[in-house]
Every structure is written in structure tokens, then in C-alpha cells.
């Protein structure tokens, strides 16, 4: 039988067509969303829009403005003349920050008096605020170091190298293990997308449930779990090959964790279907709750800052044992041996889900057969 005939056969039957659509949604949608996110966080250096109000017409101030304009991460969208232009631009949300250089800036520097540049940030900018601050602070910090070196050269008559050592007695560098560029895409995207896969797997499980034969019930759960695994792996591959999200650790660990989580989620979906008396629509309507587990797993908001109770609850959440460790595998190159406790947890989770879903299957089947017998006996009595 050719592939086209098989597809035609599936499409002809309403139930199998619906099952196929749900499985296709599960298989393709996470990768499509991954492409969207990849395009959004396109990996280019951030060009943060800023406004500069320079009241000082001196060469020193002009060169400072030029240095800010030359910074690869900043984009001066406006050169203002009044201080309230900074406030206005921040109020309208057209810039991420505003810099005001006072009129006595270079004069004070020449006279050895203190002078201060004011930097205003848009606190309502949400998650970008810390990145904006660090970009601007780093640019101004570099300019300040250069200036101090020139002071030391001038006032102390030191050579440039000695001046540098005097002004920078010691330095430090920051190394971000597993994510050297502090990339949000690397830090977040994989877990976000794998959570989408989990939601999709539960949804597909809830949609394709079986009421009569246990073997088919199990078979559907496993197929759904396998497609969830394929979807998760495809998503990781898309992010890795098209958007350079690193995957440096053990491949087998990634596959195994995906498989165990997807199996557990598929049977959770079947269980939800059974709990809703086989009403797929009602069961699917409740799957959004899975997205909450990503928040509770400490993936984006640290567990340390959550109330104590959530720090205990988090252990019972599959995402805690899936997206967090898989991020470590992908970015830090963690080995299989390191993730064994998480793998065992996920194994336990998937076995429990199979058992719970099976128990529910039998209890529902028993109930319906009892009801059927009652109906038959009522019919006999009536007859």
C-alpha cells in the first residue's frame, strides 16, 4: 500500500482524521513557534535606542557623545536640547534610556571638580531593563577608565602603561559558564518550546483516547508519546541548526529525557480524557495549566525567591526534572551520569501516569459495562 493510499484511508475516516490532525499539530507546531522565536531573538547585537541631551558644546563632551554613538549596542535615535526630551521619550516608550550631559561637564573636568552625567532608564521596559543598564554602564565605564588613565598620565607624569596600572589596580572578568554571551535565547527558548511540546502531547493524548480495547489504549498512548518525543527533538534540532542555540551535552540523555517526559505527558492526556468522561474538548480545555509548571519549576524565576511552600511543590512538577536539567545538558554539557536522578524521576513519572491512566481506563470500562448490563436487564424486564 502506498503512502498516499494510507493517508487517503486515514483521511476518509472522521475519527482517524481527527487523531491525525492532533498528532500533526503536536509534531509541527513547536518547531514553527521555535522558528518564530528564533527570528524574534535574531542573535544580532542589541541596538538599544537612546536619547542624548548634551548641554556642553566642548570637544570633550562631543567626543563622549561620539563614543556613545559608536557603541555597537547603542543607537542614538535622538539628540535633544532640553532635559524634558529625555523624560518625554521615556514616557512615550520610544527609547530604552536617556543620557544628560551637563553644561559644565568639560569645565569641571578641566578644573578638577566633580561632574556627573545623568542616565535615566525606562523601568517599565520589563525584562530588558537589566541588559540596558549593563550595556550603558559598560560603555560609560570604558569611557571613564580612558579618562582616568589620561588624568594619571597628565597629573602624575606616568607612561600610558603605568598610568593604566595605577588607575586599574586590579581588574576582574566575568565568565558565564554555558552561556558566555548571556544570551536570553540560549537561556530560555529551549525550555519554553519543550513546555509547548508537553502541552501539545497532553492535548493530543486527551484527544485521541480509546474506550474499548486496552491494547489500543496503550498503543495510542505510546504513539502519542513517541510523536511528542520526535516533536521535542525536532524543536531542539531547529533551534540548534538554524538559530545556533548550543547543544553540547549527551545526545542520549536528551533523547531519553524527552521520551520519558513525553510518555508521561501522553498518558496524563489519556487520564484527563477519562476524567472528563471521554469529552476530548473539555479535557483539552484544561491543558493550559501545564504552562504554569514552567513558572513553578524555577526555570525563569529562581526557586530561591519563591515562598517556601513552592520550593517543596516544585519537586513534584515534571518540568523541574526536565527543562531545567536538559538546559544544563545542552548548555553546560552535563553527562548522562549527572542527570540519572532526574531520569529516574521522569521514569517514575511516566510509569505512574501509565498506571493511573490504565486504572482509570478499567474503572470507566467497568462502570460502562455495569451500566450497559443494567440497561439490558431493564429492557428485558420491560419486554
Amino acid at each position: 500500500m502506498t503512502l498516499f493510499k494510507i493517508i487517503a484511508l486515514i483521511w476518509e475516516n472522521r475519527h482517524s482524521r481527527h487523531v491525525a490532525i492532533h498528532l500533526l499539530i503536536l509534531l509541527l507546531l513547536p518547531s514553527i513557534v521555535g522558528v518564530l522565536y528564533g527570528i524574534e531573538y535574531n542573535g544580532k547585537p542589541m541596538q538599544l535606542p537612546i536619547v542624548i541631551v548634551n548641554h556642553d558644546t566642548s570637544k570633550t563632551a562631543q567626543s563622549l557623545v561620539q563614543m556613545l554613538a559608536d557603541s555597537p549596542n547603542l543607537q542614538v535615535v535622538k539628540y535633544g536640547t532640553e532635559n524634558n526630551e529625555v523624560e518625554e521619550a521615556l514616557y512615550k516608550g520610544t527609547v530604552a534610556a536617556g543620557i544628560i550631559i551637563p553644561s559644565d561637564f568639560s569645565g569641571n573636568i578641566l578644573n578638577g571638580q566633580q561632574t556627573s552625567i545623568m542616565v535615566f532608564y525606562d523601568g517599565a521596559l520589563s525584562t530588558m531593563n537589566s541588559q540596558v543598564r549593563s550595556e550603558i554602564a559598560s560603555t560609560l565605564g570604558t569611557i571613564k577608565s580612558g579618562y582616568l588613565i589620561s588624568i594619571a598620565e597628565g597629573k602624575l607624569g606616568l607612561s600610558p602603561e603605568s598610568a593604566k596600572r595605577t588607575v586599574v589596580p586590579f581588574s576582574y572578568n566575568i565568565v558565564m559558564l554555558g552561556n558566555p554571551t548571556s544570551s536570553t535565547t540560549n537561556m530560555m527558548m529551549q525550555g519554553m518550546l519543550l513546555t509547548i511540546v508537553q502541552i501539545g502531547t497532553v492535548g493530543a493524548g486527551a484527544a485521541i483516547c480509546e474506550n474499548r480495547r486496552y491494547k489500543r489504549f496503550l498503543g495510542k498512548g505510546f504513539i502519542c508519546g513517541l510523536i511528542g518525543t520526535a516533536s521535542g527533538l525536532a524543536t531542539i534540532a531547529v533551534m540548534h541548526y538554524f538559530f545556533d542555540v548550543p547543544y553540547t551535552g549527551s545526545m542520549m540523555t536528551g533523547v531519553l529525557m524527552n521520551l520519558l517526559t513525553s510518555m508521561g505527558m501522553a498518558f496524563l492526556g489519556l487520564l484527563m480524557n477519562k476524567n472528563n468522561q471521554g469529552n476530548a474538548e473539555k479535557a483539552i480545555a484544561g491543558i493550559s495549566i501545564i504552562s504554569m509548571t514552567q513558572l513553578l519549576s524555577g526555570y525563569t524565576f529562581p526557586l530561591l525567591a519563591m515562598p517556601k511552600i513552592f520550593q517543596y511543590i516544585t519537586w513534584f512538577i515534571p518540568n523541574t526534572h526536565f527543562i531545567n536539567p536538559i538546559r544544563d545538558v545542552a548548555l553546560l554539557g552535563q553527562s548522562f551520569a549527572h542527570e540519572v536522578p532526574q531520569i529516574l524521576w521522569l521514569l517514575g513519572f511516566s510509569i505512574l501516569m501509565v498506571l493511573f491512566a490504565s486504572a482509570k481506563f478499567f474503572s470507566v470500562r467497568k462502570k460502562s459495562s455495569v451500566q450497559q448490563k443494567q440497561l439490558e436487564s431493564e429492557r428485558t424486564v420491560t419486554a
Binding site: I25, L36, E40, Q47, L156, P169, M192, L295
Partner: protein, 398 residues
Amino acid sequence: MKLSQMFKQDIQPIITLLFSVVVMPLLFGYLWHNVYIVNVPFGIADLDNSGLSRSIITQLESSPSLNVCYFTQSEEDLKTTIKNGEVAAGIIIPPNFSKDLSQKLSPKAMILANGTNLSLSGPAVSAASTVLSTISSGMQIKMLEGGGLDPSTASTSLGTFSFAERTLYDPINGYLTKMIYFIIPMTIMAIFVTRFFLPLMLDKRNAFIQHTGRKETLANITEIAGRVAIVSLVGIVASLVSLFLLAIVDGLPLRGDLIIYFVSMAAVMLNFIGFGMMLLIVVKKAENLKFVFHIFAMTTSVHAFLSGVTYPFYLMPKPLVVLAKMFLPLTNLATELKALNLKSIGWDVALPAIGNSLIYSVLWLIIGIAVYVLNIRKERRKALQSDSFTALTADTQL
């Protein structure tokens, strides 16, 4: 249909809406109550063992952001401990650090952090950087003094060029204020569109097909308008109640004008109706709703990521912004709603956003209603044809 009857008919989505919009955000408020991340586990690899290195460690220990809980003499051990997640970050003070400093060799320390979870390691890195910068400034003054400058000139020289930072609108920058102004309308959208609007319109579609009389059609249209208005109003009021409760319990800033908020939320609800009509172009049968629910649940985060709330529009590629604004209902007003509550924006900023959102609503309402009506007419024609065919067959048989 009477108002009370309409209300009764939608009691289930109304209760879900009230519960989700009022209670769930309170849970988020409790979850994200701590705005400062303190006591982050921190490790130290002191390979210098000098007075200076011990002074650095003492200052790191006194930082409230850090919980210095791991000490080692090996760089590799510290790396492994960070990778294993036992500490979020750490510092390596190299051998001869103090000696190199006294010989003006400008030694280099290293702050190592787990880059996989920046929300945890970020505060640790920032606290350690502050400690090192403070010590470095002290050293700079001593170095300049040692070079022959008097103490006051040395300190003035260092302070000559400084920059002061001010964060406007939300200086604390907590997680709750980052997210909640978006989560509330997002929750309303999920319930309004999937639990109420789509089932209602699919149900009425059948009614429109079956009842062709003008009076019945008008009654159905009035009923739709009435029920949509009631549930929309409940959504707006629930969002306000939720924000007020969060303001009382968690101190959430609410600085906006109430009228602007109400108008903006009304525009948001209109967007949801437009979005619903857009979905109805594809969904024609109630049995297909489960596909919508499935896709909707999987793409919740897409609405958040492309709304401009988590990642600003000016950093996104332009075509993506256009697509997002064309298809996603919250994109036009999400940042405006946040700015309204945090920046207390006036009509000058709110109106253009409301205008864009109205364009979205009107566009999808026109296209959606046109397709909806065309489909109904098509179905009616089909029904008429099959009726006349049945009648014809019956006549022939007679």
C-alpha cells in the same frame, strides 16, 4: 431575551472568568512576592590566601545578596560546583594577587557564574562586581596618593567623571510588575475566546441557518450582542478587581487614569471579538473547536513573546512586528496597558495604541462577519436544495 436570562446562559464562562482573572493573579502575586533576590549561594576559590583576599571574602560575606557557602582551593572544583548547581556563582582570586597588586602588575580576578539561569546568577554577579569595584576604588585612591597626589586631589580626580543612574517608573523592577499587566488580559482572552465566544458563534451559526425569518435573525443578533457585552463587561470589571487586589496585597503600582483603563480594556475586548471572528473563518463546526483549544493552549507563550511586553518591538525584525500586529489581538495594546499602570500615560500616548487596536478589530470584524454570513447563506442554500430534492423525490414516488 431578558438580561437575566442572558446572564444565566453564560454563568459558566462568567464564573471561570471571575475565578481565573481574580484568583490566579493573586497566586502569581504570592509566588513573585519577593522582588529582591537575596542569599544566592556563592563559592570562593581563594588561591592567594593573603590579607587582601581575606578582606575581599569578608566583604563578599557581608553582602546581603550573597550566601557564601562554598570554599575551595581549586579553580576546577569551583567550576564543577557551579555547573552542578550547588552555587550560582563564585570568585577565583588568583595566586599572588596581593603581591602583584603591590608591584602594580594589575592582577585579574575572575567571577564565574552559571550562565544557564541568569535570573539567579545575575544578582550574584552584580553583587560580587559591586564589592570588587568598591575595593578597586579604594585601591585607586591609594595608588594615586602613592604616586604623589594629596588625598583630596586623588579622591576628586577619581570622582571627577562619574555617572548617576536613575530608573524611572519601576525602580524595583520586580517580576510581578514585569508580567502581571499582560497576564490578566491574556487570561481573559483565553477564557473569553475559547470558552465563550467561539462556542456561542458556532451555536448561533446553526440557529441562523435553521431560522431564516427576519425577526428571528434580529433576535439572534441582539442576543449575541447582549451576551458578548455582558461577558466583556465582566472581563473588564474582573481585571480591575484583580489589579486592585494586587495593589492592596502586593503593592502593585496602579497609576493610570481609570477612564483610559476602561476605554483601553474595552478596545482589548473588541480585539478579542475580532480575533474570535478571525478564528471562525477557519472553524466552521463545533467539533473542530478541540483543534482550536489544542493550538491555543500550545501558543499561549507566542502571545506573550510577540506582544512587546517581554521583548520590545524596536528590537524585533520589522516584518515580524507587522505580522504580530496583524494577527495577535494583544499586540496592539499590551505595552500600552503596562505603561498606563506604571507610567500613568495620558490620552496622547494611549490614543494611537487604541486607534491601532481598533483598526485590528474593525478589519477582522469585517472579514470575519462577511465570511460568517457567506457561510451561513451557503449552508442555507445547501439545506434548501436538499429540501427541494427530498420534496421532488417524494413527489416522484407519489
